[in-house]
């Protein structure tokens, strides 16, 4: 051949997610071809795998193991949704069968590219390679024989595309062109209006489209309608529906996926024998009145429908009967079958109908799946999936979902067009919300993605401890949508007391807290009185209905739980009484309306300490008090007697007197936080933050606004005279203003001198980042000098002890506090966005797990 003729360039279409099988004799140039057209990581060669398992790429005895490795790697890539190219001879049917099988297992298309080059070319190339120079000619001949025999049957073997390159020139000039899958419409961002099952209800469809703002099939704002299928059968005017939908699809105003009814109608129109049941007879009859060209168009339309679509950058998947995540964007008979019919458990119900597998309970995907197929009385989101079939043809409603707004729009059926065989299912076909918490959501080593601090790691042993507590002791997870983060203390004080030398030294002092926030660029902080009781989170619903509708529980109207999610009160009746009092306070303060909610999540402290920690008090704190109280009188008397005898007791007596004083001060310190209660008499709840309400996390609402809401609740409760709520004292401090800082410090001194635990200093803005954009501690505690005896022991104020205690490291505690804070915010954000329970629980569980990380418990 001369150079005058320009080479013809073959283009080889390859689907972007597929298993490409190169087929050719040894020496046919497969590896060279693969290198030229695909990324190195996309290509897995059998020679390379042979080398991996036995150090010799040409050792044929290692083939079995080598192909195991090859299939394993290819499987992992396909499962992850990556184009994969297999570079092996694949001239034998058996080798190819395994690869086709692998492609099917991962629901991707197998594609064959055949290099059918002359024997001479192959032999010449092998001769040029030192490791293959000795290869007998017969091997090439055998490969070519096998190949020739295979060529015609490749499609039958299951390859969806077969490209055969027959000459060196053709092989060298061919271009591989990647094609998108037909179901991949991720580039379309809508906005969309997704319409549920129609079943020939043409009039309702027109009403719904009008309601959605369409004018004769076109939306003035350029929205796109998406039909989930089951346009036909049972209803009065399937042709009318088809005409409308087909027109909108054709003009680019709509997308449509097939339902099982279209599938069956398609088979009928193709001439297959089908039973005319489930309303097909009506459709056939209606179509018989239509012109032949229309029926023809319907046939073509149905033939062209793609089983499901992935839309809006992968955030939205639309199909008829629901689709597990692993099938999204995949192409196989199985995927299509799933998309059209859904999955069944193999069991049958009392009507003899197959029981649908509750696939949505398992669904953990990021994409929202919008589907129809099973008529339900009400649409509900379950794990980011929603069924839009509200049984229009059975006299229910026709429903559409606006995307990305996630708003539901529906119109009532004009009449019962068709009697259902069995009553509409009471719950969504995907399963039941609330119970689909799966161990895999929480167990083992986990990484939780948070919006405010990126990925947060949970170690396996911490998750194991959390699992034990969450399972054995916690409140129903539906009623534990949040756990409070731990809080770091202020940096350790190095300075002498401001209150005079007699006061000794401080371990914690407000000066460091103010200085730290000033350094972080936080101008205004709020100092809030720290109540010494037990942390309590309270979920209070407006009534039992609100609790049922939002949290799916039957009976309780909320929950009161500890920082590890355990019920605060053993007796549910006491919990309900607390909730009743809180509810009245919220009502009287007008907060339901103001916040537009029927539930509130509150963070606070329940007093007294002795209420919840009686065991700890008795066995540890009071025990120390009792022991010290009983030992010193005798010891001091003995020392005094010895001294009176003239024995030199040195500093021993003085030191024991000091220790006795410290021990007495310790007893005083814990006693301040104990009092006797009877039922709820004497029990106080001091709320300090409103965490969330319906549709909204309040975690970033500035603390002055927060306290304004809470003050109103407290005032309402005081007016009602229940004595439950307690106000949180506070003072605002400007961290750059010396006078203000001094006022804050004095306030703390006064508070703690009167027996207070101390205070918490928080950025007024609640949610804050520093100059470098890093998340700032949401609060630091500054605990009082006397209170700290309970933490560090009666004698910690002695200068030698203080010196040692100052050597405490806060780094881990601060990091832990931030991680837990970010997880808490994440839980609230997920709760507010009405994300699935497992998503909220994942973050809550992670907080609990982190609480079991090793960190100095005295911080």
């Amino acid at each position: 051949m001369t150079g005058t003729k320009s080479p013809r360039t073959r283009t080889l279409p390859v689907t972007d997610l597929s298993l490409v099988v190169l087929i050719g004799a040894t020496g046919s140039g497969k590896s060279t071809f693969a290198r030229k057209h695909f990324k190195p990581t996309e290509v897995i060669s059998s020679d390379y795998c042979r080398g991996l398992v036995c150090d010799d790429e040409n050792d044929q005895s290692a083939s079995r193991d080598a192909f195991d490795v090859l299939h394993y790697i290819a499987g992992k890539r396909l499962a992850a949704g990556r184009l994969t190219v297999v570079d092996a001879t694949s001239v034998q049917a058996d080798a190819r069968r395994q690869l086709v099988q692998l492609a099917r297992e991962h629901d991707v298309l197998p594609i064959a590219i055949v290099l059918d080059l002359p024997e001479e070319v192959c032999a010449e190339r092998n001769a040029g390679r030192p490791d293959r120079a000795g290869l007998p000619r017969a091997v090439i001949q055998r490969h070519r024989r096998d190949l020739r025999r295979s060529l015609r049957g490749l499609e039958r073997e299951g390859f969806r595309k077969v490209h055969v390159l027959r000459s060196v020139e053709e092989a060298e000039t061919a271009e591989v062109v990647l094609e998108k899958r037909y179901n991949d419409l991720t580039h379309l961002t809508g906005p969309f209006d997704i319409v549920g099952d129609i079943h020939g209800c043409s009039s309702e469809l027109e009403t719904l489209l009008a309601e959605l703002g369409y004018e004769d099939g076109v939306h003035p704002a350029g929205r796109t309608a998406v039909f989930v299928g089951d346009l036909v059968d049972r209803g009065p005017d399937s042709p009318g529906v088809l005409r409308r939908v087909m027109g909108m699809v054709k003009s680019g105003n709509a997308l449509c996926v097939p339902g099982n009814h279209e599938n069956k109608l398609g088979r009928y129109l193709k001439g297959s024998k089908v039973q005319r049941t489930h309303g097909l007879a009506e459709t056939i009859e209606q179509l018989e009145r239509e012109p032949e060209e229309f029926v023809q168009e319907v046939r073509e339309f149905i033939r062209g429908l793609v089983s499901h679509y992935v839309l809006d950058g992968g955030k939205l998947v639309v199909c008829h009967a629901g689709l597990p995540e692993k099938y999204h964007g995949r192409t196989s008979g199985r995927v299509r079958s799933h998309a059209l019919y859904g999955e069944t458990t193999g069991e049958t119900d009392e009507f003899g109908l197959p029981v649908r597998y509750p696939w949505a309970e398992d669904y953990r995907g990021k994409a929202a799946v919008v589907y129809g197929h099973t008529p339900v009385p009400d649409t509900t989101w379950i794990n980011n999936t929603i069924c839009l079939d509200t049984g229009a043809v059975f006299g229910g409603r026709m429903t559409a979902l606006r995307w990305p707004e996630r708003e539901l729009v529906d119109v009532p059926a004009e009449k019962v067009w068709y009697e259902p065989v069995k009553p509409l299912a009471a719950e969504a076909p995907g399963g039941h919300d609330g119970r689909p918490l799966d161990l895999a959501d929480v167990h083992g080593r986990r990484v939780v993605e948070t919006r405010h601090l990126g990925n947060v790691n949970v170690r396996e042993e911490n998750a194991a401890a959390a699992l034990e507590v969450m399972s054995r002791f916690a409140v129903d997870p539906r009623l534990v949508p949040y756990l409070p983060p731990t809080m770091a203390p202020t940096a350790t004080s190095r300075e002498e007391a401001r209150g005079g030398a007699a006061e000794g030294y401080f371990l914690e002092h407000p000066a460091e807290a103010f200085a730290q926030y000033r350094k972080d660029g936080i101008a205004q902080v709020v100092c809030e009185e720290k109540h010494m009781g037990s942390r309590a989170t309270v979920l209070v619903c407006k009534d039992a209905d609100a609790a049922r509708n939002r949290f799916g529980v039957d009976g309780p109207t909320g929950s009161v739980y500890t920082r590890t999610g355990r019920p605060f009160f053993k007796d549910p009746a006491v919990t309900e009484e607390v909730l009743t009092r809180l509810r009245s306070a919220v009502t009287d303060a007008g907060l339901w309306e103001e916040l537009g909610t029927d539930w509130l999540l509150l963070d606070g402290e329940i007093l007294p300490w002795s209420l919840k920690s009686a065991g700890l008090l008795r066995n540890q704190y009071a025990a120390v008090g009792a022991a010290s109280g009983a030992v010193f009188p005798g010891a001091l008397a003995a020392l005094e007697a010895a001294a009176a005898r003239g024995v030199d007791t040195g500093e021993l007596l003085e030191r024991q007197r000091g220790r006795a004083t410290d021990a007495a001060a310790f007893t005083e310190a814990y006693r301040r936080y104990c009092w006797t209660t009877d039922g709820l008499d004497g029990v106080r709840f001091a709320p300090f933050q409103l965490l969330a309400v319906a549709g909204r996390s309040l975690a970033a609402v500035p603390h002055d606004e927060q306290l304004f809401w809470l003050d109103r609740m407290v005032a309402a409760d005081e007016a009602a005279g229940t004595g439950l709520l307690r106000r949180t004292g506070r003072i605002l401090v400007d961290t750059a203003d010396e006078d203000s800082v001094r006022a804050g410090t004095d306030w703390w001194l006064e508070l703690t001198a009167a027996g207070g635990e101390g205070m918490v200093v928080k950025p007024l803005q609640a949610y804050a980042r520093d100059g470098r954009g890093r998340l700032v501690q949401p609060g630091v505690k500054v605990r009082g000098r006397e209170y700290l005896r309970i933490i560090y022991g009666p004698e910690y104020t002695r200068p030698d002890q203080l010196e040692r205690l100052r050597d405490r490291s806060l780094g881990h505690k601060r990091s832990l506090a931030l991680r837990e804070y970010a997880l808490g915010l994440e839980a609230l954000d997920r709760l507010a966005a009405e994300e699935p329970l497992w998503r909220v629980h994942e973050a809550v569980f992670a907080v609990l797990a982190l609480e079991s990380e090793p960190v100095d418990p005295r911080l």
Binding site: L437, D438, L439, E468, S628
Partner: protein, 516 residues
């Protein structure tokens, strides 16, 4: 921590001989350093008639906490000892015993070089320990010191806090001993019995504890009626405690976060009862009933959900009919004990391949549990709050769906037959409920109906005509399932056959290409 030793005397046998006996001069205050602080010896009185020696140990609690670091995963060997707030500086515990042993070493040995005859003589002694921690209370103190030759053994409980009388007494007693004893004997008794009464708070871990006990107990311990209790408390606990502290630190921290005691959360393994109530035969009967029901069901692949320390697993392993045995529990500690009990690490490959231990929880669905022949929930449901039973029900009957499910639970009606059980009490501290036969059947019947199981009830143990058996068992068997796996059109009466669907789908798929 503090104690005094007094004696009386006469010009012939002056009380001040105590100074010789103790090797400590009555006119001085002497200090000795010990590993946990300084010990001081001084004499508040020292006359011919009366002489009192006082031992005062100044324990530094911060040093105590930091001393413990480096053992296990960064903690002292005991949860309470890890606290700076600690009774050790005030109470006469094992630390005081250690100090006693060091400071009065020669006296303890009964040696007195200057006046050898003194050490051999008994003399009137009065020993006072103002704060003695006593697990077992004043009663045990009397039982321990009573047989040891004292004329007076006085033990008065110290109240916890006089401002809160409802809290009751503390675990401390004020101890006074009076009698004619050799000083060395008295000191040796204290050396052994202080830590024994304190219990759980051993602060030494040395390999020669047995020798020390034998030496200090020479002459009195062997004949002591509480000999068993003394030795087991002295020796047995410290090993386990150090081990446990390593295993359960995560739970300790969660308890601390909640202001509760560790035991409130970490109670899955009952140290005292080995999870089986007395009389033990009931546990055996229960196991036999379960094994019999499993045999009838023809189960080979079996789940033991809530396997605890693995008693049932052990029995299942012995029967080769069970080809796959899975033990699951929520408590990591219980699983560790089960693994130890079953000698999992030393088991042969063939045996160990039959057994798997998993941490898991029935409050969550769990894919690992699907597809088994049978599941056993033996004494499990009563450890769950009733509100959380629906989750368990769904995880077992809705999600895992084994063909057979065995559930055993106490029959509360039978409790009146337990002589040791006070009226109205549950059999185990962690039981959230105990059901009557009727209550159990109501629950089991509903569960069976909701999930397509049949259920029958089997009494376990002596079936009392009036109150029924001590344990009740429900045997759930899944109804035969229809094997039609047709894709469904839920409102229709029949559906497309699977053959046509797949065929249709298969042939249709390529057309996605053509049409689009």
């Amino acid at each position: 921590m503090f104690l005094t030793i007094s004696t009386t005397g006469s010009p012939e046998r002056p009380a001040t001989d105590l100074g010789y006996l103790l090797h400590k001069h009555p006119g001085k205050t002497q200090a000795f350093s010990t590993s946990h602080g300084n010990a001081h010896v001084f004499y508040p009185e020292a006359s011919v008639q009366r002489c009192t020696a006082a031992l005062l140990l100044e324990v530094d609690p911060v040093a105590l906490v930091r001393h413990g670091r480096g053992k296990g995963r960064g903690g002292a060997p005991d949860a309470a000892l890890a606290q700076y707030v600690n009774d050790r500086p005030y109470a006469a515990s094992s630390l005081l015993a250690v100090a006693l042993g060091g400071v009065f070493r020669t006296a303890l040995k009964g040696q007195c070089t200057a006046r050898p005859e003194l050490a051999e003589q008994a003399r009137p002694l009065r020993i006072e320990v103002p704060v003695l921690p006593a697990r077992g209370g004043a009663e045990l103190v009397r039982r321990l010191f009573g047989p040891l030759g004292w004329d007076l053994v006085q033990a008065e409980a110290v109240p916890l806090d006089e401002q809160f009388p409802e809290w009751g007494d503390s675990r401390y007693v004020r101890l006074v001993l009076e009698g004619e004893l050799r000083l060395a004997d008295a000191l040796r008794q204290l050396y052994v019995l202080l830590p024994v009464l304190d219990d759980a708070k051993h602060y030494w871990i040395a390999p020669d504890e047995v020798d020390k006990l034998l030496r200090a107990g020479d002459g009195w311990l062997a004949a002591h009626p509480e000999h068993g209790l003394i030795t087991s408390r002295y020796l047995a606990r410290h090993k386990r405690l150090t081990q446990d502290a390593i295993e359960r630190l995560e739970l300790v921290r969660l308890a601390e976060a909640d202001g509760s005691e560790v035991e409130e959360l970490d109670n899955a393994v009952d140290e005292n009862r080995d999870t089986e109530e007395r009389p033990v035969p009931l546990a055996v009967q229960r196991r036999e009933a379960i094994l019999a029901a499993l045999r009838v069901a023809g189960a080979q692949r079996v789940l033991d959900l809530g396997c605890g320390q693995g008693q049932l697993l052990q029995a299942l392993l012995k029967d080769p009919a069970y080809s796959e045995i899975v033990g699951m529990d929520v408590s990591v500690r219980a699983l560790q004990i089960a693994a130890r009990r079953l000698r999992l690490e030393r088991m042969g490959e063939r045996q160990s391949s039959r057994l798997k231990l998993l941490q898991g929880s029935l409050a969550y669905t769990d894919k690992r549990l699907a597809g088994y022949d049978a599941a056993v929930l033996s004494e499990v449901i009563e450890h769950l709050d009733p509100e959380r039973l629906p989750a368990l029900e769904y995880a077992v009957f809705g999600s895992a769906r084994p063909r057979t499910v065995l559930v055993t639970t106490p029959n509360v009606e039978y409790n009146v037959r337990w002589e040791t059980l006070p009226a109205g009490h549950v059999r185990h501290g962690d039981h959230r409920f105990e059901w009557t036969r009727e209550e159990f059947r109501a629950w089991a019947g509903e569960v069976a109906r909701r999930h397509g199981y049949g259920v029958r009830y089997v009494p376990v143990g002596d079936d009392d005509p009036e109150v029924g058996p001590p344990t009740q068992m429900a045997v759930f068997t899944q109804h035969d399932t229809d094997t039609t796996d047709t894709p469904t059109d839920t409102t229709g009466t029949t559906t497309d056959t699977p053959g046509t669907t797949t065929a249709a789908a298969d042939t249709d798929t390529p057309k996605e290409g053509e049409a689009a």
